[in-house]
């Protein structure tokens, strides 16, 4: 039995989108880290920092954050203008960080 508990329609936020009926919990538990392809203009690309900023997220993001082992970190420096194309090339759990510096 999988340890992952998926949001379902008994949870108010997921009332109209029953994830438990759409995907098997074992698929979620065994999903690998997602792969990205990044085409960037003037943005700096790096790996995710060890300590990530953490804003408000939903229930599934907690699973993504704990399961994804890597992801891109994009930074647009002050006064720069950059066009970045971020594509998910393989499914799974993923994380990314995008920082737009002051005035960028």
């Amino acid at each position: 039995m999988s340890a992952v508990v998926l949001p379902n329609r008994r949870i108010e936020d997921w009332k109209y989108s029953d994830l438990r009926n759409a995907v098997d919990a074992d698929v979620v538990a065994s999903a690998p880290t997602a792969a990205w392809s990044v085409a960037s203009g003037a943005a700096d690309i790096a790996d995710l920092p060890a300590i990530m900023p953490r804003g408000e997220h939903g229930a599934m993001a907690d699973i993504a954050i704990s399961s994804a082992k890597a992801g891109p970190c994009l930074r647009v420096a002050k006064d720069q203008v950059a066009a970045v194309h971020l594509t998910l090339s393989e499914g799974g759990h993923g994380r990314a960080l995008i920082v737009i510096d002051n005035g960028a």
């Binding site: 936020d13 408000e56 993504a64 737009i100």
Partner: protein, 228 residues
């Protein structure tokens, strides 16, 4: 379902002071389950613009958690879903943590066949965040008896002096408008497409970049052609 048909993504976005970030997400039609969760923090004077185009999946959910953290911070969100089957859910939570902040939301769903479109939008105005200005509009167009659209705008206001508006409406194509176009010699299919395009128009037109807007229109037109 295989693991490659599943994606669960968490993205942190930080928009600095007086910075501008325009974010466009195009989710083409697929059979996958995708949950994408964006947490966005906007500092004073910063602007976050986001545009979402969704053409359905087995279950596609986009969650946005936006915190307007400094004076003059703005968030402008728009989205369209054109679904012939499948499920597309946009759930937003905008927090006006500071006064003199602004948020705008325009979301349009078109659902035919067995499709289901969902919009849940919550706007929270924190204690003391006076002069916050928020407007959310969600509309749905149902094209069949088996399609479903659920729209749920919400407001939580803990400040005294704010301007917050919200609206939601779901309906069918206007029979009088359709009759008018047909009486001018426009074939029914073309008349329906014209009305659907007009319905979606104000959400797509929020995209400032001309080439991106044109590519989204192209995808919308292709999806409208496939509607039953």
């Amino acid at each position: 379902m295989q693991t490659e048909d599943f994606a669960n993504i968490a993205v942190e976005i930080i928009v600095g002071e007086n910075a501008k970030f325009t974010h466009v997400r195009h989710a083409p039609r697929n059979d996958a389950v995708q949950v994408v969760d964006y947490s966005v923090r906007v500092a004073a004077g910063g602007t976050y613009r986001a545009h979402f185009a969704n053409f359905g999946g087995k279950l596609s959910r986009t969650e946005l958690h936006i915190a307007l953290e400094g004076k003059g911070a703005e968030a402008h969100l728009s989205g369209v879903s054109v679904l012939n089957d499948g499920h597309a859910d946009v759930t937003t939570h905008v927090t006006h943590a500071c006064g003199k902040t602004q948020s705008r939301q325009v979301f349009k769903h078109v659902a035919g066949g067995h499709a289901r479109g969902v919009y849940q939008g919550k706007v929270s105005v924190a204690v003391g965040a006076n002069d916050s200005d928020s407007n959310q509009s969600a509309k749905g167009l149902l094209l069949g008896n088996r399609a479903e659209i659920d729209l749920k705008p919400e407001l939580e206001i803990l400040a005294d002096d704010v301007k917050c508006a919200h609206g939601a409406a779901v309906g069918d194509l206007d029979a009088e408008s359709l009759f008018y176009l047909r009486s001018r010699g426009i074939p029914e299919a073309e008349a329906r497409a014209l009305l659907m395009r007009a319905f979606i128009g104000d959400a797509v037109e929020q995209i400032e970049d001309e080439s991106i807007r044109a590519s989204i229109w192209q995808a919308v037109d292709a999806a409208l052609e496939g509607l039953s």
